[in-house]
């Protein structure tokens, strides 16, 4: 670890993202404002205009145009950034598949927010989880520091020659975007060392002319998709390497694909994604103090998926619960589906339960999390609970 020049400031998650982007020196930023992403793009436009950041800021007319502009920039080898949330992410969807299929290493910040109808500006994770199949790497952060750090890491991962895949950094709307924390702002010189200027042969240029976006026939389409899938698997090693290198240089380590917290001797483990991990940590500590063997599996990456880690964990524990701020209508929470598929591959027959809630910005309380742990512990001996349960469901539904 090098000598750290500590420079901590009190900022919101959105501002932390803006600093992470500034330090990564993108050539082009293209965005359309949407709550709760707005502070990020406001700070970035300010940084560009006051000369702190040498970047072209494109104020486009919609998210569809924002991501299309980012693709245009990326196709000539520029480092690009865009940011959105919720409706904006969904409006980008067509271009998201273009970007991943074209292997443009664009980095996007997505402020997790629920999706209309009913229209709501508050948080859940239905926006990005609905896009797991879009071919983007997806990481979810727990706090503002991790948000900043992941912006820097994201470029390194996405731009890696073996990966060349766009990457989305997700942070929970309002809970992270609008709350203030002490955040360490890394030194520019160190970031430059970690993240050199983007060089890629995969770009349009006069010396080596290339067409970056084209059609395919039934003859070769499957091969394109195979390679895209392979790149996503290759990304796992790159993620692990990048994480290690980042930890050595900056002294912060996020354990890579997942973070296991007190899982080694745990009977019951709760799987979390994003900021809810913070609350679960508090409850887990309290229950540990009372002698209950409980732990947390904080999933960081949803794509590529931490299958290996979940399979290994399944042999150590007796019950697993998944908190989903999401529902795939007609089935179950999307995180649960993904976790369950890994459990099936490991032939683990442990107690499992999917807790669905926190939709449209509803708080998830410590008491609710404590109950989840108790449900899991009870499930080890007698399995008489529903596998998929909406928690804190008010009685006035149209059942």
């Amino acid at each position: 670890m090098e000598n750290l020049k500590t420079n901590k400031i009190f900022i919101s998650g959105d501002e932390a993202v803006a600093h992470g982007v500034r330090l990564s020196r993108p050539h082009v930023i293209a965005a359309y404002p949407i709550t709760p992403q707005t502070i990020t793009v406001e700070r970035l436009s300010e940084m560009v205009e006051n000369g702190e950041l040498d970047s072209d800021y494109m104020h486009v007319e919609s998210e569809h145009s924002a991501l299309s502009a980012a693709m245009g920039a990326s196709s000539v080898g520029a480092r690009t950034f865009t940011a959105t949330s919720s409706q904006g992410l969904l409006y980008m969807v067509e271009a998201m598949h273009y970007a991943s299929g074209g292997r443009y290493p664009i980095v996007m910040m997505n402020a997790n927010r629920s999706v209309a109808l009913p229209w709501s500006i508050y948080g859940d994770q239905r926006d990005s989880l609905s896009q797991l199949d879009s071919g983007w790497i997806q990481v979810y952060v727990e706090d503002a520091q991790e948000a900043l750090d992941m912006m820097i890491q994201a470029y390194k991962i996405a731009e890696h020659a073996k990966v060349l895949t766009p990457m989305m950094v997700n942070l929970d709307g309002f809970i992270l975007t609008h709350t203030y924390e002490m955040v360490e702002i890394p030194d520019q010189a160190m970031v430059d060392k970690f993240l050199p200027v983007f060089e890629t042969p995969n770009k349009m240029c006069f010396e080596n002319p290339k067409n970056m976006a084209f059609s395919s026939q039934p003859d070769d389409n499957t091969e394109f998709k195979y390679q895209q899938n392979q790149a996503m698997f290759d990304a796992i090693e790159v993620i692990e390497q990048t994480e290690k290198e980042f930890g050595e240089l900056f002294g912060r380590n996020y354990q890579s694909m997942v973070e296991e917290i007190n899982c080694d001797d745990a009977d019951a483990v709760l799987v979390t994604l994003g900021s809810i991990t913070g609350t679960v940590r508090v409850v887990m500590e309290q229950l540990r103090a009372r002698g209950l063997k409980v732990g947390i599996l904080k999933i960081r990456y949803m794509r590529p998926f931490p299958e290996k880690e979940i399979m290994a964990l399944s042999h150590k524990i007796k019950a697993i619960g998944v908190i989903d701020k999401d529902i795939s209508f007609g089935y179950e929470g999307t995180i649960f589906t993904n976790v369950n598929s890994a459990l099936a591959k490991s032939n683990a027959s442990i107690f499992k339960k999917n807790f669905i809630g926190g939709l449209g910005g509803r708080d998830i309380t410590k008491a609710e999390i404590e109950k989840m742990y108790h449900d899991l512990l009870a499930g080890i001996t007698s399995n008489n609970q529903k596998t998929v349960e909406f928690f804190n469901l008010k009685v006035e539904t149209n059942d």
């Binding site: 359309y32 404002p33 949407i34 709550t35 707005t38 793009v41 406001e42 436009s45 300010e46 205009e49 006051n50 800021y57 104020h59 007319e61 919609s62 998210e63 409706q87 409006y91 209309a116 109808l117 229209w119």
Partner: protein, 269 residues
């Protein structure tokens, strides 16, 4: 002087003004000095005056007026950001005896929804469009819109809009006035009692045009966004008069009816 009891004042014979029937009792969320409230009231008064409360469908946008359905007691649909003209097209075509209007901000109409409004107007849909142009994305916290004036400071143009970076302010109303499908295009405001009266007349005309089936009616209301502009209500009105009206001059841009099919058929004959 004897104390006057409030009960002595609230009497039928003292009544000089009452809010439109169509306006609900819900407290509006609009900032002090915002034009949205006045514009809502005018739409409500026209609906009252024409006695069409049960036959009016509003399409609300995404923007500060997304909650318009809480304030006007008529049928409403909320559209995705920018898509109100598409919903209005369908509603009007299926229920031609209803009065269908969209109520849209400049971000909704002139930015993300530019395609929908141009095409609905070009098709000459028999709807009324109320376009609230405050030259900013109000709801999201005052970012630059396509309509933002050159040099104007916003949350995403902190040193003022520049044409080199951001192009020119879009006079979408002038563009729309060129389309053969539109019957009536006007630009008004609500900054003085006289202006309020004129705007109300324009809205009424826009609604009455639906009876005549003569094409789209498009009413721009040059508006304030005191919060986005970071000015007091009074200063906002002054700023609007001084700067907005110079670039967005008030008055009618078109008052006729949509062009005939005959005049277009000749090209393939």
């Amino acid at each position: 002087m004897a104390d006057i009891d409030i009960k002595d004042i609230i009497k039928e014979e003292n009544l000089i003004y009452t809010k439109p029937k169509v306006i609900t009792d819900t407290v509006m969320h609009y900032c002090p000095g915002c034009s949205h409230g006045v514009a809502h009231k005018l739409v409500a008064e026209v609906i009252d005056d024409m006695d069409i409360q049960d036959k009016t469908i509003g399409i609300s946008p995404v923007g500060c007026s997304v909650l318009a359905y809480n304030y006007l007691d008529i049928d409403w649909q909320q559209a995705a950001h920018g898509r109100a003209p598409a919903l209005a097209t369908a509603a009007k075509r299926l229920m031609p005896n209803h009065y269908v209007f969209t109520y849209q901000g400049d971000g909704d109409l002139a930015s993300i929804g530019a395609a929908e409004i141009l095409h609905a107007c070009n098709r000459g849909e028999n709807i009324t469009v109320i376009f609230i142009n405050n030259a900013i994305y109000g709801m999201t916290g005052g970012q630059m819109a396509p309509t933002t004036l050159v040099g104007m400071k916003t949350a995403t143009s902190p040193y003022g809009r520049s044409t080199e970076l951001n192009g020119y302010p879009l006079k979408i109303t002038e563009l729309i006035a060129q389309l053969p499908g539109v019957a009536y295009v006007t630009r008004q405001s609500v900054h003085t009692p006289a202006a309020v009266r004129k705007t109300k007349k324009a809205i009424r005309k826009g609604f009455e045009n639906q009876d005549k089936k003569i094409g789209t009616s498009f009413i721009e209301i040059v508006s304030t966004c005191s919060s986005g502009w970071k000015l007091s209500p009074v200063k906002s009105n002054e700023w609007m008069e001084e700067h907005m009206f110079k670039f967005y001059p008030l008055g009618d841009l078109k008052d006729s009816e949509k062009e005939s099919e005959e005049s277009y058929k000749k090209y393939i004959e």
